[in-house]
């Protein structure tokens, strides 16, 4: 996956855009679904019992598919705000921790004055061999740790953005089917067929869409599993003896 690219704003606005499209799409779907029901009701008196049964079954199938999507949409509309902070914080680890800390590695390991090279004897040897390398390695490792957690969060953030944009695509596709079917403008003879066709088409879109969303969920679940290795990684005894910053100075 790698470190966050682009800006946090680009990513959070992708989430907000998708959420807005979902909100508008669902409203249009519900309106058109109700218009289709009204159209059926207005012709109900003229339909034979067998056709009524057929229409009811199609409508149930249609409603079932729409309900599956509505259930997901309801959760997404309730949860998207905390996920935007996931995006922001993945960038924050990179910009406000990893970059400044990595920038300290070179000044930590290099002498403030190159002529300190002329310093000789035991005290110099101790400083150059015992003090500087440990501090440098620890600083380097700290920068890498910040980078690791930034990448881990970013990967989860990207999966969440994928989830919400794919959901908005499913909602848009369902709306497209309903718009094309135009049940509200059909005459009596075509209504049962059109509703049956629509229910099947939407059912397939929803099944395919939900499966795709579940595969994205799987990636997020797996990222949680990988967090276990993140925990063992942070016990890095060679750079941080006893889990602490290397202490050249006692006390």
């Amino acid at each position: 996956m790698g470190e966050p690219t682009g800006t946090a704003g680009e990513h959070t606005s992708a989430i907000e855009r998708a959420v807005e499209q979902i909100r508008e799409g669902i409203k249009a779907i519900v309106d058109k679904f109700n218009a289709a029901i009204d159209q059926c009701n207005s012709k109900w008196f003229y339909l034979s019992p067998a056709v009524k049964l057929w229409i009811n079954r199609s409508l149930d199938k249609f409603r079932e598919a729409i309900d599956k999507i509505l259930a997901i949409v309801g959760e997404v509309l309730a949860h998207y705000a905390p996920v935007t902070s996931l995006v922001n914080i993945s960038f924050h680890w990179l910009d406000a921790v990893k970059k400044p800390v990595s920038g300290m590695v070179s000044p930590v390991s290099g002498w403030a004055n190159a002529n300190l090279a002329y310093w000789e004897g035991g005290a110099a040897k101790h400083y150059n061999m015992q003090v500087l390398p440990d501090q440098k390695d620890a600083t380097d490792a700290l920068g890498q740790k910040a980078g690791f957690i930034s990448e881990w969060l970013y990967e989860i953030a990207i999966s969440n953005i994928q989830y919400v944009t794919d959901l908005s695509t499913v909602v848009g596709d369902i709306l497209g089917e309903i718009t094309t079917a135009a049940i509200e403008s059909l005459d009596l003879i075509n209504i049962p067929w059109a509703i049956d066709r629509l229910a099947n088409a939407v059912g397939q879109l929803v099944t395919k869409g939900v499966n795709n969303l579940l595969s994205i969920v799987q990636r997020i679940v797996e990222a949680g599993g990988r967090a276990r290795s993140a925990i063992s990684d942070r016990v890095d005894e060679s750079k941080f003896p006893g889990g602490s910053w290397p202490q050249a100075v006692k006390g």
């Binding site: 800390v101 035991g122 110099a124």
Partner: protein, 126 residues
Amino acid sequence: MPDQTSTRIITDHVREEAKKWSELAGQMQAVSSNPVNNNGLELNVTSFFIGPSELVATGIHYDAYVGYYDHIKKLVTEAASEWEQLHGALNRMADEFDATDQTAQADLEKVYTAPPSTSNGKIEGN
């Protein structure tokens, strides 16, 4: 060119090196103050998944994150403190070089032990 191996010049460079650690401690302290130790990187258990909460046990992500973040908080705090102590240690070294008029030897155990009054970063009068 002055004699770069002279006791006075090397002692000056050691003091310069001490100042380097003080500056680095300041930089690390800045990272510590914001965002590391002001909870500027805090996340919520609901931050990890946008969809139906029953699909992802985000407590696993959250616990792992909090543990990792706590560890980094500790390391950043310790680094800033250690570097401030190195500032003190190298100045004690330079003082000892001044007192003994040489730069090869010092009581390293003493130099690299923070005096009790400053070990926690506080400054106290003598």
